[in-house]
């Protein structure tokens, strides 16, 4: 740096000498005439042209300074990984290359189309809202829309100019381009008319190219971080959701019970549960929230919480479902709903008392392979607050198998867009009559996957099997 300083000082000194020499020549010139010596005449004549050489030296110094600033900015740009560090650095370094009285770096929000000032210098805080402009409005808007730089020598005579600073007389803006796409612009304002030259515009454009690359790199880095954070949160959500599902199957002799759940994404909207009410009464629930992913998972958590609270305080299934419905109507968007089946099985009497809130009807496959469906007794939950739910009864017979499922099983599509369907589900259950409930739910899940292959199963998939062995 010292060496550079020495060179700059030398440029200045030499330029001063040349200027002084030229001034002496101008002073001497009126005193010369035809009688003067030709060498003196030539010396004075040549010396009067020396300011050109002095200006060349000054230009060289300026160019060297600019190069130095660019090298420094380049190194700064490549080392910063946060926009709030990077952009102030750029705008402050810019002052050393092109003078401004006010300046801003503006980026386009790709979602809203709004131009947002990311870093500003020289504007009044009150005028900030005037600086924000929609793409296509104002001088910056024109630059962003066209992708072309703009220099306005006298802003008073340009109808596009939006006044954000009373002192501004001239303005220059260049686009920030990334792979041909305009991601924002640099804007400089000066209190002098015609402050900016074509050379200034070239300098600013060069800097803008460096800055655009750096900004995109920072954005990419931020995106990677955000994705990693999202994946960590999703993994946590998955663990929380897994904790909502039964870890163990309650022993409920003589019945054989098993359930299985596979979300199509990290988290899902399907749910099943066993709720021990008394020594002899077991609550069994299966539900499906409309939609998929995190939104559905949150509703599923609300549904589970409200169902469990109601089950503990209330044994009347019609009341439980009505209350859960009311709660969901109040707490979820009107286009979100839950289909659910909830039944209580008395193992001593073999009586299943149930309500079905618009859920795919569970099927009972009797020992003689005949099939019975437990149809809906009321509307889906969370859609209409005054819905009522009837209660039905089914008395288990030896050899019965009850399958409760979500539409991820029956609606699973193969590549010919055929659904797996209820008939295949029933046929699998009949074919695997010898398997216990646990092996049966795994077997059916494998069959659904095999049916869809090579397509993946696209929806959340949940299945519960309940068998009463032959006497």
């Amino acid at each position: 740096m010292d060496n550079c300083q020495n060179i700059d000082n030398r440029y200045d000194r030499e330029a001063c000498h040349l200027d002084e020499l030229a001034a002496l020549a101008r002073e001497a010139s009126p005193h010369l005439d035809n009688g003067s010596h030709p060498a003196v005449l030539a010396l004075v004549q040549k010396s009067m042209e020396l300011p050109n050489a002095a200006n060349l030296l000054r230009d060289a110094k300026q160019e060297r300074l600019q190069n130095e600033v660019f090298i420094r900015i380049g190194s700064e740009l490549s080392s910063r990984l946060a926009l709030d560090e990077l952009l102030p650095q750029i705008i402050d370094s810019l002052q050393e290359v092109v003078h401004y009285d006010a300046a801003g770096i503006f980026l386009v929000d790709s979602e809203t189309g709004q131009i947002e000032g990311q870093v500003l210098r020289g504007y009044q805080v009150d005028s900030l809202h005037q600086v924000r402009q929609k793409v296509g409005q104002g001088l910056m808007g024109a630059v962003i829309q066209s992708g072309q730089p703009l220099r306005v020598g006298d802003v008073e005579h340009d109808p596009r100019y939006i006044n954000a600073r009373n002192q501004t007389r001239s303005e220059m803006a260049v686009p920030l381009l990334s792979e041909g796409r305009v991601i924002g612009c640099f804007n400089l304002e000066s209190d002098q008319k015609d402050a900016y030259t074509e050379h200034d515009q070239e300098l600013l454009s060069t800097l803008a190219n460096h800055a655009a690359i750096a900004i995109e790199r920072v954005r990419f880095y931020r995106e990677v971080l955000r994705k990693r954070q999202y994946e960590e949160e999703l993994s946590l959500a998955r663990q929380i959701q897994l904790s909502f599902l039964p870890r163990n199957v309650p022993k409920f002799r003589p019945y054989d019970l098993a359930g299985i759940n596979f979300p199509s994404q990290a988290v899902g909207g399907d749910y099943y549960d066993y709720i021990s009410l008394t020594d002899k009464d077991l609550g069994i629930a299966i539900g499906d929230v409309s939609g998929k992913g995190m939104g559905a998972a949150l509703i599923m958590a609300s549904f589970r919480a409200s169902l469990r609270v109601e089950c503990v305080h209330n044994f009347e299934i019609r009341d439980i479902l009505a209350r859960v419905n009311h709660f969901l109507c109040e707490s979820t968007d009107i286009d979100k709903f839950v289909t659910a089946f909830y039944g209580v099985l008395d193992r001593e009497t073999g009586r299943l008392t149930y309500g079905n809130a618009g859920h795919d009807p569970p099927v009972i496959i009797h020992a003689d392979n005949s099939v019975e469906k437990l149809d809906a007794t009321g509307m889906v939950l969370g859609a209409f607050p005054d819905s009522e739910y009837d209660v039905q009864i089914y008395d288990f017979r030896p050899g019965d198998a009850l399958l409760m499922y979500t539409d991820g099983v029956t609606e699973a599509m193969n590549s010919r867009l055929e659904p797996f369907g209820l008939d295949r589900l029933v046929a699998e259950c009949i074919r695997n009559r010898d398997l216990d409930a646990g092996a049966l739910v795994w077997k059916i899940t494998r069959e659904v996957r095999k049916f869809c292959s090579p397509e993946p199963v696209k929806d959340d998939l949940t299945l519960i099997a309940l068998r009463l062995p032959d006497a």
Partner: protein
């Protein structure tokens, strides 16, 4: 999702087509429905003949449409629902709140009969 709003006398006929799956389809649908309700229209028929497929989020669109129209003291009928949609409405018991008609004409004329 294909979407077309047209008027037949004082009834707005909303023709849906393709896959009805919620998401951005839903935003487009409700933007147009809100505009129509804002203009004072109260009678709506959703023609479902060209719908190939509807998931639970698509069903959510129908539920929200019914509630939005009712909130504006209007009424909504469904016409030409496919077998598949009929099955979904039956399983979910939503048939209790949606009036469905075999043809658009029947749905349109049902408003006069009910008043």
């Amino acid at each position: 999702m294909d979407l077309d709003f047209r008027k037949s006398n004082d009834v707005v006929i909303i023709e849906l087509g393709g896959k009805i799956m919620g998401g951005s389809d839903s935003a487009k649908f409700f933007e147009q429905l809100e505009t129509s309700l804002g203009e004072g229209h109260q009678r709506y028929v959703i023609d479902l003949e060209k719908v190939h497929w509807m998931n639970s989020s698509g069903l959510g669109i129908l539920i929200r449409a019914l509630k939005t129209i009712r909130d504006h003291r209007g009424s909504l009928k469904l016409a030409r629902s496919t077998r598949k949609i009929q099955d979904i409405l039956t399983i979910t018991k939503l048939m209790m709140v949606f009036r469905t008609y075999d043809t658009v004409d029947e749905a349109v004329h049902s408003f006069d009969e009910s008043t």
